[in-house]
């Protein structure tokens, strides 16, 4: 089991999310950095979709009364086990009664604590993911609190891979690649040129639903009221104020603001590692390039064995 001594800023149970509930307006949720979660699970021999704890910006302190094999995946949260430092991507053994302390991030926004066997919670609509906004799934539908006790499951698939090397292409990037969106052509040449040539800063309003950016305003299409339509993960919406919003894992399923671009699937994990005040740029790629990048990422994940 895992006992929460301090929860950190926002720590939730996440897996790869629940697909298929778009028709009732429920977005998949799931890990903000799905690549880190999958790699972490592989390193401790779990199935890739096993549930783990997702920590945000500042992590918590956890006690393992019966011990565990664990790994920290994603950003470096300056973790220490019984006062010995433990870095990301290196599986480690926690003896019974061990205390794992994590602190403020030294790199990106999220760090995953994956334990061998996975974190076990009651499945809701086929997934362990917490949907924070609507209080669904995960551990009692909410972020963890001091005193919570979580069970460790027995979802084990392989031997642990203590020496799994994580390829550079699996690490987060600040140049986010995008394809065109259904309304890209509604925007003027000038608007698109501003969007692609400027840096945009992540504001404090960045969460699992979406990330508001600020930077040079993007003039919106004239008469820009459109009929609400389904919006994909990673859609870059531009409301009338001209400041873009990236829709994220707990996204709204539909929206009525025109979209200038859409983040490619392979770069969604990088979006999950963005912190407030980080500056990003956008780079346009075509659909076949986006697919090729995704396949390359997939091979790099599967190479960890």
């Amino acid at each position: 089991m895992i006992r929460v001594e301090t929860p950190g800023l926002l720590t939730t149970v996440q897996d790869l999310g629940r697909m298929g509930f778009g028709p009732v307006g429920v977005s998949p949720s799931g890990a903000a950095d799905a690549v880190a979660l999958r790699v972490g699970n592989r390193l401790v021999g779990n199935p890739e979709e096993a549930a783990a704890l997702e920590m945000t910006l500042a992590g918590g302190t956890f006690v393992f009364p019966e011990g565990a094999l664990a790994v920290l995946a994603g950003s470096d949260f300056g973790a220490a086990m019984n006062d010995a430092e433990v870095g990301p991507w290196k599986p480690f053994h926690l003896p019974p009664g061990a205390r794992l302390r994590t602190g403020h991030t030294r790199s990106g926004a999220r760090c995953y604590l994956c334990v061998r066997g996975g974190v076990e919670v009651k499945s809701f609509l086929g997934s362990a993911s917490t949907h924070v906004l609507s209080g669904l799934g995960g551990f009692e539908g909410r972020a963890l609190r001091k005193g919570d006790v979580l069970r460790i499951g027995n979802r084990v698939e392989n031997e642990p891979r203590p020496k799994g090397a994580v390829a550079d292409i699996l690490l987060p990037r600040k140049t986010i690649r995008v394809t065109d969106a259904p309304q890209s052509e509604w925007f003027s040449e000038e608007s698109r040129s501003i969007f692609f040539s400027s840096g945009y800063r992540v504001t404090e309003e960045a969460n699992r639903m979406g990330l508001r950016l600020e930077g040079p305003a993007i003039p919106t299409p004239p008469g820009g009221q459109m009929v609400t339509e389904g919006v994909p993960l990673g859609a870059v919406q531009v409301p009338a104020g001209g400041q873009p919003i990236i829709l994220f894992v707990e996204q709204q399923t539909t929206g009525g603001y025109p979209k200038i671009a859409n983040v490619i699937t392979a770069d969604m994990s990088s979006v999950g590692q963005l912190r407030p005040r980080d500056e990003i740029r956008f780079e346009r790629v075509d659909q076949s390039t986006a697919r090729a990048i995704l396949r390359e990422q997939e091979e790099a994940i599967r190479a960890i064995h």
């Binding site: 697909m19 298929g20 509930f21 778009g22 028709p23 009732v24 307006g25 429920v26 998949p28 809701f124 949907h131 906004l133 609507s134 209080g135 669904l136 539908g141 394809t179 065109d180 969106a181 259904p182 309003e205 639903m209 979406g210 009221q225 459109m226 009929v227 609400t228 339509e229 389904g230 919006v231 994909p232 993960l233 990673g234 859609a235 409301p239 009338a240 104020g241 709204q252 399923t253 539909t254 929206g255 009525g256 859409n262 983040v263 490619i264 699937t265 659909q287 986006a290 697919r291 995704l294 396949r295 997939e298």
Partner: protein, 232 residues
């Protein structure tokens, strides 16, 4: 609204890549009952006959966003599979609509934009309330957030643009207007609709079956209640 009538003026469906893992099937660019019927039929069809690689569906007024696993299929292949089905939507039958009543406390702290909406249309707040609560609406689809129903049937006199900058947080239960749409926010979320009132009824609860008060195709009415009835 039979399939026979709806097929007469149907535009051909358009297929647009919306992201590297989704395809938008569009039945036009405006809210109308015929497009909405095609959306409901396509959702029904894909729920009954799933396509390999399709992992999620986002219905809207006149389009369906289809999310797929980009390692399994791609836009062109999916479009080729969907095209013959989309051309035969008239053959899909839908269940009978239900009737749902939603109590609303209009104005004041419950509907911060009621006075502005009234002002924009040179009406009194009471006239806005009377019009809004007299109409019968149809749930064209659920989207945005869990249990958020997009209702068509708003009287034309009440059509109002969204707020230029969305609110950071809208209270759960808020009843809003955006363009010629109306709806109720099930959760406290960010949102750009003009708020005219609030309901005390839970729109979405995970411990209830069905979880969502509204389902696609339902007929909805709002009836005004006092602040005392709201807090009761």
């Amino acid at each position: 609204m039979t399939g026979h009538e709806s097929s007469l003026a149907d535009l051909p469906a358009r297929f647009l890549p919306a992201s590297d893992q989704s395809l938008l099937v569009s039945f036009g660019e405006r809210i109308d009952p015929s497009a909405s019927l095609r959306v409901r039929r396509l959702i029904r069809l894909l729920e009954l006959n799933p396509i390999r690689g399709v992992v999620n569906l986002h219905p809207a007024y006149c389009s369906v966003l289809i999310r797929f696993d980009a390692l399994v299929t791609e836009h062109g292949e999916l479009e080729a599979l969907l095209r013959p089905q989309v051309e035969n939507l008239d053959a899909v039958s839908l269940p009978e609509p239900r009737e749902v009543e939603i109590p609303v406390c209009y104005g004041g702290e419950f509907g911060a934009d009621l006075a502005d909406v009234a002002g924009l249309h040179e009406m009194t707040p009471a006239q806005v309330i009377a019009l809004h609560s007299a109409a019968v609406y149809t749930v064209d689809f659920l989207g945005f957030a869990p249990g958020f129903g997009y209702l068509s049937g708003l009287p034309g006199e009440l059509a109002t643009p969204r707020l230029p900058v969305p609110r950071r947080s809208v209270p759960a239960g808020s009843v809003g207007i955006a363009g010629n749409q109306t709806g109720v926010y099930p959760f406290a979320t960010a949102g750009g609709w003009r708020l005219i009132g609030r309901t005390p009824v839970a729109m979405f609860r995970s411990d209830r079956q069905p979880m969502s008060l509204l389902s696609i195709g339902d007929r909805v009415r709002f009836h005004p209640i006092s602040p005392e009835e709201f807090t009761r």
